[in-house]
Amino acid sequence: MSRTSILSCEEVTVAFDGFKAVQGMSLSLDPGELRFLIGPNGAGKTTMLDVICGKVKPVSGSVSFHSRAGVVDITKRKEHKIAELGIGRKFQTPSIFAGLSVMENLEIAMSQNRSVWATLRASLTARERERIDEELALIGLGDHRHTRAGLLSHGQKQWLEIGMMLMQEPEILLLDEPVAGMTDRETDKTGELLQEIVKRRTVVVVEHDMEFVRNFASKVTVMHEGRLLKDGTMDEIQRDDRVAEVYLGKRRDAHAVG
């Protein structure tokens, strides 16, 4: 376990009723890194994110988070505690609160004291309003602040959710297929947003869209059948025979690594 990493997963194994979704996977993140997690369907990418954010508890292995507050063993904490420690998670399908307005979504996502009593007495301060305005500008939803979130387009919902994650001010951001179902223009815009986000925090992205991954010259981790297949830059990954085989053998969209 290196000292400099912000998150290190060691030999993580996850089993669902005997089926091993992840087997002895190790992953270590440096602070400020943008890491892509790729692999064919069922490789265990999403499960890995589930482990990091506490949704799934591994059968064995350790996950330690070197937060500002010290080293924390993630596997022993509840989801809401992990979120509070500074690990934010965006799910595959946009999960925003449809009944609240865009602004209200951001308001409750904001990092703050999250006890019942505190939220009961909280009112929106000028500073908080400013913070929300900044975020609205960043995700490009300034004109929709009073729109009910359920009425937004798919792309806008994804951005809102990314905005909500940022309001949490997490140290590590876990994004599960942020551009799935987006048009090309929306994808580009999401890419820009991601560039902006990476400047300030560590980000892990699970992605199928290779074109999108290629635009970021960053580190890529390939998973296959619950195991680590290859770590490296996009160039190294593309030249790797095993990676090509996994994709060519299992998926029709072989251009993915082409």
């Binding site: 799910f91 999960s95 009944g99 609240l100 990092s111 999250r114 009112s123």
Partner: protein, 346 residues
């Protein structure tokens, strides 16, 4: 949604509220004693409905056990009134059952302030206790609802079975006076009516405050996506527990007022049927646009409904009300019934 429009809307809303409140406060001037008493009872029910709306409409948690919280509040006040009526002696039913001394848990109810406090606290704590074991273990939806029904059966069975301590099936009745004045006097009736109006307005203000606060937004968020709220760093269980407790406390308050107006409380008034009826009031009043106009509807409509539907059945007692109401219900009301209210939340 522009500012001017919402300002004007707000003004009308405020005027409507003021008008409704004035009409309620002035009711002793234009209603007969009988109708005033009936209205007072309906207003007490409206308080239960408010609390249920808060729980069901905002967090999506359906409780079919509010009869218990209502009943516990009612018994708290009933015990105080019974002790008043016995004038220092052992209440009659205890005597018949062979008790010689007042049980320890009856002692605090000698004092009126203590009885009022306990009538709110006991239901709130029971709700908190039940919520602690259910919400924290992520028992939700139908399973939670079934548990609340089980609670009803347990509590009513307990009350019926412990005749020496609770008055059994007959419940508590034969009350005479409150704070030294006879309950039947006109002055007392008007005072109790006004107390109910004030309690209702206070309960409404409380619910309004809760739902418009940031906490209210978190509650709606929990209804939309409990898991997502968890990953934002909130603990939904504590929010649900708090709401359940407030809802239980309001039902307790309503129960106390009910006893003062009706003069009797028995286990049948806190059983399964009344518990389900309470949910019907809310469903008919409409919870669909809980986020926007739930309270606004709950109050005037439920009251109105009681007046329209309840009066024809002069001596309608608790369990019989649903039938009376269906007879007396204008068609308009049927249309308003909105199955969306029970919509399953994702």
């Amino acid at each position: 949604m522009n500012g001017l429009w919402s300002d004007r809307k707000r003004l009308w809303l405020l005027l409507a509220y003021a008008g409704a409140s004035a009409a309620l406060f002035a009711a002793p001037l234009y209603l007969s004693d009988f109708r005033l008493n009936l209205l007072a009872k309906f207003l007490a029910f409206a308080i239960v409905a408010l609390g249920l709306d808060l729980l069901w409409g905002y967090t999506g948690v359906l409780s079919l056990g509010h009869g218990v919280f209502f009943g516990l509040g009612a018994y708290a006040m009933g015990m105080h009134l019974k002790l008043n009526a016995s004038g220092g002696k052992l209440p009659d039913f205890m005597d018949w059952s062979g008790l010689t001394r007042l049980p320890w848990f009856w002692q605090p109810f000698k004092s009126f302030p203590a009885a009022v406090l306990l009538g709110i606290l006991i239901p709130a704590l029971l709700a908190l206790f039940l919520g602690f074991f259910t919400f924290r273990n992520r028992i939700k939806g139908v399973y939670f609802t079934i548990l609340t029904q089980a609670l009803v059966i347990i509590v009513t069975t307990l009350f019926v079975g412990q005749q020496a301590y609770t008055g059994g099936t007959n419940g508590l009745t034969g009350f005479t006076k409150l704070l030294g004045s006879p309950l039947r006097s006109d002055g007392m009736k008007s005072a109790l009516y006004l107390a109910t109006v004030i309690a209702l307005i206070a309960a409404y203000a409380l619910c309004r405050y809760l739902t418009t606060s940031r906490m209210g937004k978190v509650l709606r968020a929990i209804r939309d996506g409990e898991n997502r709220v968890r990953f934002l760093g909130y603990d939904p269980a504590t929010y649900q527990m708090a709401t359940f407790a407030v809802s239980g406390a309001l039902a307790g308050l309503a129960g106390m007022l009910f006893v003062l107006h009706v003069g009797i409380i028995s286990p049948s008034m806190m059983g399964i049927v009344p518990s389900i009826e309470m949910i019907l009031w809310v469903a008919i009043g409409g919870t669909r646009h809980a986020d926007r106009r739930l309270d606004r509807r709950a109050r005037p409509e439920l009251c109105e409904e009681r007046v329209v539907g309840g009066v024809p059945g002069d001596l309608d007692d608790f369990p019989g009300r649903a039938l009376h109401r269906r007879d007396g219900l204008p068609a308009r009301r049927h249309r308003r019934f909105d199955p969306q209210g029970s919509r399953k939340r994702s």
